[in-house]
Symmetry: C2
Subunit: 221 residues, 2 copies
DNA sequence: CGTCTGGTTGATCTAGATCAACAGGAGTGG
DNA sequence: CCACTCCTGTTGATCTAGATCAACCAGACG
């Protein structure tokens, strides 16, 4: 939580007094889309996903939340209801601060606002990148991009074996992240294997040449 | 410019001293993608577009900027180069503030930071909406959504004639906004006319029943 | 006049959506 | 232990939205 670096002793004491720690098991919902926003969550460890469901039943996985991420801070600042549902995708330890608590902190410490601003700009940057990818890249490229991002968090290089990624999420969530169905993910996986870009064994992915992956998505960045 | 309401007399004097007004003609570039960010622009009147070009030559129109909008403030806050090019789509009057000037103002007036934060959240909200639309809606729906947004700014209800929208931008830019080509826009226009949702005559659009439009996009909001 | 740009249409092709079937666990209950 | 169902993932067959390539027209502009 970058945001806390700027707090003085008093404020830190305040935080430790009013914060509420909570661990969510995989699949557990942290808050519901459309519900009034009563506070925000920090992701301490684990993995979360923000889903948006539209009236036609279409669901999109808008964003993943890693350790250090914040959930619902935008709604907290605008006072609107949560626009996405948040859910733990892995076992996730969170820290909750109520609306009132955050308000108090924001009033006391102006640097905190800067932190939020920085965070917001960075988050926006990412969604914008995803937007342009969604607008003019195919499923394959977007999927590779998602894999690469996951690799940056969960992947490792094992000497002799190469680049390995243990997928933290299921196929259908990969699909929802890319904006397609599980079938299309399955098929593009086959194609990627055929092209020797990556090979899949259940939830583990091997990249023979990570550079080849980077190459294919140089455009989305 | 909401942001200016919070400035005191001194600060306003400072702004009027250091700001640079500039009018851009249609098609004129305000700043280039990839160029170092030296300052930001307010849109006083007119219409701007932010374009992102990727290495493969694919271009997307990421966002339109109406009066009251801000250009390049995110890069200004992060210190990164402009990620999009900005261009005047109609004759646009802008007000430029240098990096140093904004920094000075931000240091002096903490409320100004809040304004930026609010703006950033709102902007992010919009791109997120566009993202989910791009992920799971077809060209037709996204196009209607774009038209509706334009109607909110440029449309008018003429008694006896109905809802009329004079399109401020060309077909190819409509296409770039939706993430498709001009041909597809042309074809979906025909379909919309066939379905009596809208009729087109050059750059003027008639909506016989605006409710029908709203209905078709209730999902994207 | 020719040339250019913006827009429309036609013909074709393909990525990807959709519907359906099926295979392997994993859990549950007899 | 087996039978059952549920859930995830994969594959096949088919269909369609939309991309792509090409021709064409109209107005703008030298």
């Amino acid at each position: 939580m970058d945001e806390w670096h700027d707090l003085d002793a008093d404020e830190l004491a305040f935080v430790t007094r009013v914060k509420r720690d909570h661990v969510f098991e995989p699949g557990e919902v942290i808050f519901h889309q459309g519900a009034p926003c009563d506070g925000m969550y920090w992701v301490r460890t684990g993995l979360t996903g923000e889903r948006r469901l539209d009236p036609d039943g279409e669901m999109a996985l808008v964003r993943l939340g890693y350790a250090g991420g914040a959930l619902g801070y935008q709604e907290l600042l605008t006072g609107k209801p949560y626009r996405n549902s948040a859910e733990a995708l892995k076992r996730t330890a969170t820290c909750y601060l109520s609306h009132a608590a955050i308000r108090e902190l924001l009033d006391r410490n102006t640097k905190l606002r800067d932190r939020f601003l920085q965070r917001c700009v960075r988050d926006h940057e990412k969604t914008e990148k995803n937007l342009v990818a969604a607008l003019n890249r195919g499923v394959r490229t977007r999927f590779l991009y998602a894999l690469l991002k996951l690799y940056e968090r969960y992947g490792q290089f094992v000497t002799g074996k190469g680049h390995i990624l243990e997928l933290p999420i299921a196929r259908k969530d990969l699909a929802a992240l890319v904006g397609t169905g599980p079938e299309s993910i399955s098929r593009t996986i086959r194609k990627l294997e055929r092209d020797r870009i990556a090979s899949f064994d259940g939830r583990t992915v091997f990249f023979p040449d990570l550079g080849a992956v980077q190459d294919e998505i140089h455009n989305v960045g």
